[in-house]
Amino acid sequence: MKKSLKRLISAISIASVLLFWYLITDGLHLFSSYLFPSPVAVFKAFVNKLTVTVPDGGTLFTHLVASLQVALYGYFLGIVIGVPLGILMAWHRKVDLIVKPIFDLIRPIPPVGWIPLMILWVGIGQSAKAMVIFVSAVTPCIVNSYTGIKQTSQVHLWVAQTFGATRRQMLFDVAIPSALPMIFSGLKVSLGASWMALVAAEMLASTKGLGYMIQMNRMVGRADNIIVGMLMIGVVGAILSAILGLVEDRFVKGRHV
């Protein structure tokens, strides 16, 4: 199928949702406009929120930047620690034996479960949230890197060995490139998890950010601003994973026809 046709279908799909939304709100007035504002009202709130700081103490932009900063900080920390750790665990039996039991114990704790402890330790500032995001980002990074390395084909390792590859060359020139698609899918899962954990953390303990903005507007009954915040979270999340997709295409070669 042509790319332009695919794009057209996507555009029509989004347009129909907006149209349906408009019909049941401003069109047929099925709901009170206070509880379920129309797309037009939400767009107005969006434009308004670009400059106005009431009722949540910041413009849309300041909340977005606050959220992005803390999310990316925690996310990158998760990658930088999680990916090498997962690779090491898969490649060195001893590291696996030492780290695996600890990891298996910590892993079932949902990231949001760390929030109370983090508030107690470092307050409700950015670092508490960054830690919570780190916890949610690091797990998929470890799991996927580990699995990816473990799934390296035996024949590929044989080939490398018959060419006289050292163990280090086998890791860097065979196992890691072969695990790369799996590692990238971990990075994607991780990104989604970070973004979700961020919003949860901001709703529970924060002074700014998109999650905080949603929570504040619930208290004052501004459904339009809530929807603006939600849509912002959706759009930015989609953009971030699209960027990651581009990075993946740059690094992962030869896997798609």
């Binding site: 084909s153 024949v155 590929h156 044989w158 080939v159 490398a160 060995q161 018959t162 060419f163 006289g164 590859a165 060359q169 020139d173 065979v174 490139p177 072969s178 790369l180 992962v252 070669k253 030869g254 896997r255 798609h256 026809v257």
Partner: protein, 252 residues
């Protein structure tokens, strides 16, 4: 008198099986292959052939007996012994030229140094123009050409080929058989080629070694003196094909 290149003396290999039993895969195999000889190992069953390749390549150790290549005992993999596998052995994340240049890269050869010899072997196997393609874009026959070029590019004196054409369609298989003889004649190596296809064995070999099914041992040997290029339907070819075929065990 030509030089003995690969010598296996009484090698056996067993693997631990279920509930503490042992599975004997190779039993007392002794063979000797001369320099630049093209030997086909013909085996009917599913067992033993890849293990034999892996033992000669030094990827596994025999339970008893020993292997020498060019007089040196084999205890670990050695760049002087190249291996071409049945399938999926190309690195999907590398282009054709990077796959072919993998051996020299492991030796630490610089990229611009590699380029010339890589191109030589890509041309030799007839893949000129596909240097930058990834394996996923290539047909089965082309992938095996890359596999052969990759093994050749490291300039080993011994080439082990483990049913390299087993997954190709019949037409491509005939073509690749012609190609492998052409490449071997252009750049002589000692080749040990494993197959379960009698016609392929008769077409390729200077000598055919017939194996039994599990545990694998040597049943008999045939010298093939038909002149090359061989004709698949000449009377001599067909009669040898029948003789070899009759020597195979009937297995279900």
């Amino acid at each position: 008198m030509s030089k003995e290149m690969i010598v296996c003396k009484g090698i056996s290999k067993s693997f631990p099986g279920a509930n503490g039993s042992t599975l004997e895969v190779l039993k007392d195999i002794s063979l000797s292959i001369n320099e630049n000889e093209f030997v086909v190992v013909l085996g009917p069953g599913q067992c033993g052939k890849t293990t034999l390749i892996n033992l000669i390549a030094g990827l596994e150790m025999p339970t008893s007996g020993n292997v020498t290549v060019a007089g040196n005992p084999i205890t670990k993999p050695n760049p002087d012994i190249g291996v071409v596998y049945q399938k999926t052995a190309l690195f999907p994340w590398l282009s054709v030229q990077s796959n072919v240049g993998f051996g020299p890269m492991m030796k630490g050869m610089k990229k611009d140094e590699r380029k010339k010899i890589v191109q030589h072997y890509i041309d030799l196997v007839g893949l000129t123009g596909f240097e930058k393609s990834y394996p996923i874009k290539l047909s089965g026959g082309m992938r095996q050409r890359v596999g052969i070029a990759r093994a050749y590019c490291n300039n080993p004196s011994v080439l082990l080929m483990d049913e390299p054409f087993g997954h190709l369609d019949a037409q491509t298989r005939y073509l690749m058989q012609e190609e492998v003889v052409r490449i071997w004649e252009a750049d002589k190596k000692t080749i040990l080629f494993v197959t379960n296809n009698v016609e392929e064995a008769v077409y390729l070999a200077d000598r055919i070694i017939v194996l039994s099914n599990c545990p694998t041992h040597i049943v008999t040997e045939f010298d093939v003196t038909l002149p090359r290029p061989r004709d698949y339907v000449s009377r001599d070819f067909l009669s040898l094909r029948k003789t070899v075929n009759d020597s195979l065990e009937r297995t279900r």
